[in-house]
């Protein structure tokens, strides 16, 4: 690509996508932001006025649930991210260093297959495993390891387990790309100079894969703070996250304006993450270009 070259006629092919994105993406988000500053629907209700009361409601938290919901959203996101990293890294490393093409394809398939299974279905699977009469509790009671079922579900624990399962493939795919690009000979050189396998990994491969760790973590964090299905089914009434609050405001309270304000707050958090993610990816591809 020569910069400064004039757009060719092919450039017009961007038009349908641009139209779709402006009308059904940019504009709606604008509408949502606007709605969050109104008392009602400004089109149908002539008495609707501009106000910041929805944000005040969140900030001053008179109901005493909004700050807690934000906190629990972020903490579930953080724990999910850390566990996904711990689980995703070994798998990604294994895949990236696998010599056999068949083995690589099989593991890749195993990682992608859950991704192609809907969120609702995968959450259902975890409900059957973790509920009181689920697989794990039945086995534990049968083996006499516990008298009454362990509380594995309808709490943050169950929520995190299912979220990790749902989002760990994103971590694996991001990390595999980055680890695959690290020259294996660097680690071999460290080992031939006397470093043990663990030390060679910790001092060579791990630091070099740091950008991938960051990118994958940001991706999983962004995905898990916006999850709705899993926290509402696995968390039951004991977990309340921002997306669940939003759905409540739309569905049961029918307050789309307050839902809009909550949406803007979640959007700002996500945007900050997206910007960081893109910075890291840009730096990654820059390094690749120089290599």
């Amino acid at each position: 690509m020569i910069s400064g070259a004039r757009p060719s006629p092919i450039a017009w092919l961007v038009a349908p996508a641009a139209l779709l994105f402006v009308l059904f993406f940019v504009l709606p988000f604008g509408v949502m932001a606007m709605m969050s500053f109104y008392s009602g629907n400004p089109v149908t209700n002539p008495n609707a006025f501009a106000t910041t009361r929805h944000y005040e409601r969140f900030i001053f938290d008179t109901a005493g649930i909004y700050h807690e919901a934000l906190w629990s959203t972020l903490s579930i996101g953080l724990v999910t991210t850390v566990v996904s990293l711990l689980i995703g890294y070994p798998l990604a490393h294994w895949m990236a260093r696998m010599q056999s093409r068949l083995g690589h394809a099989l593991v890749l398939m195993a990682v992608i297959a859950p991704m192609l299974t809907g969120i609702v279905v995968r959450t259902f699977a975890w409900m059957t495993i973790l509920q009181d009469k689920g697989v794990i509790n039945t086995l534990l009671i049968q083996w006499g390891l516990t008298d009454k079922p362990l509380p594995l579900m309808y709490n943050e624990f169950g929520t995190v387990v299912a979220l990790v399962h749902i989002y760990v493939p994103f971590m694996v795919l991001t990390l595999t790309g980055v680890i695959g690009r690290i020259d294996e000979r660097l680690e071999q050189a460290a080992r031939s100079l006397g470093a043990g396998r663990v030390r060679a990994f910790v001092e060579v491969t791990l630091p070099l894969s740091l950008p991938g760790i960051l990118a994958g973590s940001l991706l999983v964090f962004a995905l898990s703070i916006s999850a709705y299905v899993t926290p509402s089914l696995m968390g039951g009434t004991n977990v309340l996250t921002l997306p669940m609050l939003i759905a409540q405001q739309v569905g049961t309270s029918f307050n789309p304006n307050f839902a809009g304000a909550l949406g803007v707050i979640l959007l700002l958090v996500s945007l900050a993450i997206v910007v960081a993610y893109n910075r890291i990816l840009a730096r990654l591809s820059g390094e690749q270009g120089m290599a």
Binding site: M1, P7, P16, P28, T44, V121, L219, I246, G260, V274
Partner: protein
């Protein structure tokens, strides 16, 4: 028994008699793979287990839950609506996403990196917010919640997948093929239709299959955009699961999973799964 087991499975080049560290590494990864795949296998067990509630261990094999699923009008209406929406989304996103990827890769557009990031952004922003924003926009403009509104919403989140797979193919193929065709006298239109289009077709189709799955399994974007009697399958399943946890859900899940798996096989045939490692 005494035959060396490491030869066919070994991933390290240097042979060792028995390597504890490496065995632990492989065992850990086998465990992690089990974590990924076991839940899906368990759904199959419950889909075939005839007890009225989810219970373990299974007591037998029956197809009663599949019968309940396929006989339920609510399930069937939802399944057909989901298939119909996903099919339209497949076609729309192939056309819109394929064209967009071509423009991004070959159009000499100014601000190409920004545009690419922009077209990928529905994947990065919370899908539930995309649903909420569209719900607000439909509410304000008074168009209500028509099926075409749902279809275009799904298309919006499906198009980035088509753009991504098409761009991956466009980056991988040798531009000199196009240049050679042009040098040999083919008009730009002919180069496009006879060289470029056939070459990117696998990428576009693979993206389309992804688009189909994204729409078929879509929940967060659909949540606020469906009407009570016109819910897609994931929404119906979600509402059902809030009150009832029986084998019908497992059967419905199996139907979705089998659909997804057959799609994976189609993908593998079309383009090879490697293209998806590039996120």
């Amino acid at each position: 028994m005494s035959a060396p087991m490491s030869a066919p499975m070994s991933v390290v080049a240097n042979k060792r008699p028995f390597d504890v560290g490496h065995a632990a590494y492989l065992a850990l990864n086998a465990l992690l793979l089990t974590f990924l795949l076991a839940p899906i296998a368990i759904v199959l067990v419950f889909a075939l287990n005839p007890t009225p509630y989810i219970s373990f261990p299974p007591v037998g094999v029956s197809l009663r839950w599949f019968e309940k699923f396929f006989a339920g009008t609510e399930f069937m209406n939802a399944l057909w609506l989901s298939l119909w929406v996903a099919s339209v989304v497949l076609v729309l996103s192939i056309l819109i996403g394929g064209a967009c990827a071509l423009a991004l890769a070959r159009g000499n557009l100014p601000g190409r990196a920004f545009l690419t990031a922009f077209f990928m952004s529905p994947l990065m922003l919370p899908a539930i917010l995309t649903g909420l924003a569209l719900f607000q926009a439909y509410l304000l403009s008074g168009i209500g919640r028509p099926v075409w509104g749902l279809i275009l919403a799904h298309t919006l989140v499906a198009v980035p997948y088509v753009i991504r797979t098409t761009l991956a193919v466009l980056h991988n193929f040798d531009r000199r093929i196009e240049e050679a065709a042009a040098v040999l006298g083919a008009s730009p239109a002919r180069v496009f239709f006879e060289v470029t289009l056939p070459l990117i077709r696998p990428g576009v189709f693979a993206g389309g299959v992804f688009a189909f799955i994204v729409s078929f399994d879509q929940f967060p974007v659909s949540l606020f955009l469906v009407v009570p009697k016109g819910e897609t399958l994931p929404v119906v399943l979600f509402n059902y699961m809030k009150f009832d946890l029986d084998g019908a859900i497992a059967a419905a899940s199996m139907v979705s999973i089998l659909l997804a798996l057959s799609v994976v096989l189609v993908l593998e045939r079309l383009i090879g799964l490697k293209a998806y490692v590039k996120l």
